[in-house]
């Protein structure tokens, strides 16, 4: 069952996918459904003995292509709608023990090619208004499968957080002689330099002035480009290099493979005009504030939407920067 219910108090959709209660939960390695299928062995999601990078439709999707009109009709105030959309799983490698951080730069670059291809293909579908590429890593984030993988949601609407960001960027552009909000933020970070983490020729990683998590990192394209699909070859190479350095730094931070949420913000695929408004970037939200303490989204964050931080971004950037090798 996939259905949407409208929250008129926040003016946003909530997606219900009750079948996800039954999804596979932390299986033993020998029964990993994302590993290749061994001859005569346990049949996994991938019926081949080896693979480079694989994408498939999620078996337990939050949005489904054929979701029917809900039996629950709601009301004029609280309407419902079919939870139609596309949910894909992206397998980074057939090596069960790999992580994005341990992949070679070349494989990360190949993964960028796949992400770009999925953005274009899903975005071309008339129902998909926003292609959201993301990864949840680590049990602290609620991951149920350890095999290195990410996900892609093809939403039938522009989700609230990107929508707010786009709305803000559009207003900023209108009030500032056509300037891009993200370009100006990036210029400010370059000029200040205290929160910079690593720089490539085309991408910069930094902890934003207003970070919501202690070690939150943003990776911005220096060129004002709306989506990952608009990146040129040299930019894709550089993005792979910057991501590799950042991720290895993350894993060096506390001496273990750091959990995180990784999300990509880019132009919606609803047919609107987003040049100079959507600026492709990747955001990482690691939950750890120390090696053994997590930043929880508690009363103020969840109930009021107001984040309370107990460490300054300048301090965490200095710490993380010390763990990152290279420029």
């Amino acid at each position: 069952m996939n259905q949407l219910r409208w929250d008129p108090t926040l003016r946003e959709w909530v997606a219900y996918a009750t079948h996800r209660q039954d999804r596979t939960f932390l299986p033993p390695t020998e029964y990993c459904p994302l590993c290749p299928t061994e001859p005569g062995g346990f049949p996994t999601e991938v019926p081949r003995e080896h693979y480079d990078i694989v994408v498939f439709e999620n078996k337990f999707p939050s949005f489904a292509p054929d979701a029917p009109v809900p039996d629950e009709r709601g009301s004029l105030l609280t309407p419902t709608a079919p939870g139609r959309g596309i949910c894909e799983v992206v397998l980074y490698s057939d090596d069960h023990d790999a992580t994005l951080a341990t992949l070679s730069e070349r494989r990360i670059r190949n993964l960028i090619e796949v992400w770009a291809d999925r953005y274009e293909e899903l975005g071309a579908n008339e129902v998909v208004e926003y292609v959201f590429i993301f990864e949840n890593k680590g049990e602290a984030i609620g991951v149920t499968l350890h095999h290195p993988h990410g996900q892609i949601y093809g939403y039938p609407f522009i989700p609230p957080r990107p929508a707010k960001e786009l709305e803000t960027a559009r207003a900023y552009r209108a009030q500032n002689e056509g300037r891009c909000l993200h370009c100006d933020l990036l210029s400010q970070e370059h000029e200040d330099a205290r929160r910079l983490l690593t720089k490539g020729e085309h991408f910069t990683a930094f902890i934003p002035f207003y970070a919501h998590f202690p070690f939150e990192a943003h990776v911005y394209s220096r060129r004002c480009t709306p989506s990952i699909a608009d990146l040129e070859g040299a930019e894709r190479l550089d993005l792979a290099s910057v991501l590799k350095r950042l991720l290895v730094g993350y894993d060096s931070l506390f001496g273990f493979s750091l959990p995180y949420m990784m999300v990509m913000h880019q132009a919606p695929t609803d047919g609107g005009a987003y040049d100079g408004i959507a600026h492709f970037h990747i955001e990482f939200y690691p939950p750890n504030r120390t090696a053994d303490k997590l930043k929880y989204l508690a009363g103020s964050e969840t109930g009021a939407g107001a984040y309370i931080m107990d460490v300054l971004p300048e301090r965490t950037a200095e710490t993380l920067r010390g763990k990152i090798e290279g420029p």
Binding site: W13, V54, F56, L77, P79, E113, G154, G233
Partner: protein, 72 residues
């Protein structure tokens, strides 16, 4: 019909028709639905993309890259 009352026009049930992934699923009559190389002229990589249909109807896409990795 579901009526959208207070502004959630981004999802119009009347506009949502059929399978979202019809571009992939409708071509599933053969085992290998699509296989084509993508060569980027600006320094990108070449890849082969094969789309198959799983037994339960879902699609699976294999991306294979021309360049062999030196190491992972």
């Amino acid at each position: 019909m579901v009526r959208c009352a207070s502004g959630p026009g981004a999802v119009d049930p009347n506009r949502v028709t059929g399978a979202v992934s019809s571009n992939l699923v409708m071509a599933a009559s053969s085992r290998v639905m699509v296989s084509y190389p993508v060569d980027r002229e600006d320094g990108g990589v070449g890849l082969e993309k094969e789309i198959e249909q799983k037994e339960d109807g879902r699609y699976i896409i294999y991306y294979t890259f021309e360049e062999q990795e030196e190491e992972d």
